[in-house]
Symmetry: C2
Subunit: 274 residues, 2 copies
């Protein structure tokens, strides 16, 4: 497969469709990332960017779901929570996170929805030969990304999960949802307190904007701690810079993004679920 | 452009969408025909097959029309008449035919619809250096294809148009619509009576099925008559065979189909309207 082929797909009357919906839509990279995976798997399927306007959300999505040769929908900002009422069967992780980012039509015609944002991070860790089970995680951020990461990490068997958010109500609510779904995980909320943890994750957008510092003071950080940022752009952040200066192993948002591409491809039939 | 490139398109977040809707949809060739034209015109636009189920027609088409980055819809069987009530502005030829086969979103957000089936034949004739103006046409068939052909030929200035259909009510109704819209065209209905005409067109499906004969007796056919069949498959028909045996110049349905591809490409911004 040449570099050019990676961006190209073939469309004819038999082609099956997948849509990625969002507002705006121009920034999405999934068609370029996933279409070559479908082609490589021998699937005559293309993923298309579909701009859904907020004021037309229901009519547009219901129309897409009625298209006979449309097999699935990937959901991006700002619709991951808003999509839930349109899904016939919300799978457990999507229900626990309170959001879905992928839907597919089942053989019986009903639509099921699942959540892969956090699973992408888990898969990325496993790809890097890091077993998430029994890790002790300090998570910064309980918003959309933080919720998905928290649930997926608890599902993957982390032993300790401490959640911090500047909005302590959000952190508390997320911790309660995780505690109910995963009784074996010791989950609590509190300030960023690194000692006692072996993994530190930033799931806030702090670090994207010029002039941003780390999302929290990093007192007590030692080189044994694995440090992960979910931010993709820029490549590195003050948070990761500080961790590298301390000698930590670090990953930026690519770890989660690449893992998620594998999860989504598998959900739509190209590749293995894990 | 290599043979492989002709079938390939590039899709990313900025790509604009066009849909061809029908039931069934697997047989449509327009994506393979038109996508290379859009690419050649420098447009980041792809035409997709969209299977619209009859029982979900309104919800599906209204959903498509709400998609922010969907610029147009091509309509095929069985929806060319059913689409009309969903169009904000039905352009004159579509109104005269009573059917539309292409819609696009205007700058003001309203959808206009037009009919290119018959214009495809007119363009095909012009591409073959045949001027449709002042021709004397005997048209067999007043159904969907026949209606589109009749209106487009009248619009192109044929001087005589005689319409035959086994259902004489259909022929009469079509003749009335043409007469009202194009007073300069001498339109009438009657049996297939070739003398007095220089052009003979089959716009019925008779000739597609094995064992079919010509759609009508061809008494009086002479080699000066131009003979056109709208049938694409098979390549030739008993009607065209008889015409060739008489020494006539003949065209099969490719003339109309290729002309229509040019018309549709131009309607969506790739190429010249004529």
């Amino acid at each position: 497969m040449t570099n050019t082929d990676i961006q190209q797909v073939t469309i004819d009357g038999e082609t099956r469709l997948l849509a990625i919906i969002g507002d705006p839509i121009g920034q999405v990279k999934s068609p370029r990332t996933l279409n070559p995976r479908f082609a490589a798997a021998g699937m005559d399927t293309v993923l298309l960017p579909v701009h859904v306007k907020p004021e037309l959300f229901d009519i547009t999505v219901q129309g897409l779901m009625a298209v006979g040769n449309l097999d699935g929908i990937i959901v991006t900002v700002p619709y991951k929570a808003r999509i839930l009422p349109l899904i016939d069967e919300v799978l457990p992780m999507a229900a626990q996170v309170g959001a879905a980012n992928a839907l597919r039509r089942q053989a019986d015609g009903r639509w099921c929805g699942d959540m892969f944002d956090g699973r992408g991070l888990v898969r990325g860790l496993r790809n890097a030969k890091i077993n998430p089970a029994v890790r002790r995680v300090m998570l910064i951020g309980a918003g959309g990304a933080g919720s998905a990461v928290a649930v997926a990490l608890a599902d993957a068997g982390v032993s300790v999960l401490t959640i911090f958010d500047v909005d302590s109500n959000k952190a508390d609510a997320l911790a309660r949802r995780v505690a109910v779904a995963f009784p074996a995980c010791s989950v609590r909320t509190g300030p960023v307190d690194i000692p006692g943890h072996d993994t530190l994750i930033n799931a806030t957008p702090i670090g994207m904007a010029p002039g941003d510092g780390p999302p929290a003071p990093l007192d007590g950080l030692t080189s044994e701690v694995l440090v992960i940022d979910v931010i993709i752009k820029p490549d590195t952040t003050p948070f990761l810079d500080a961790a590298r200066a301390t000698g930590c192993r670090t990953f930026n948002g690519r770890l989660m993004l690449d893992g998620q591409a594998e999860e989504l491809a598998a959900f739509f039939g190209a590749g293995e679920r894990r």
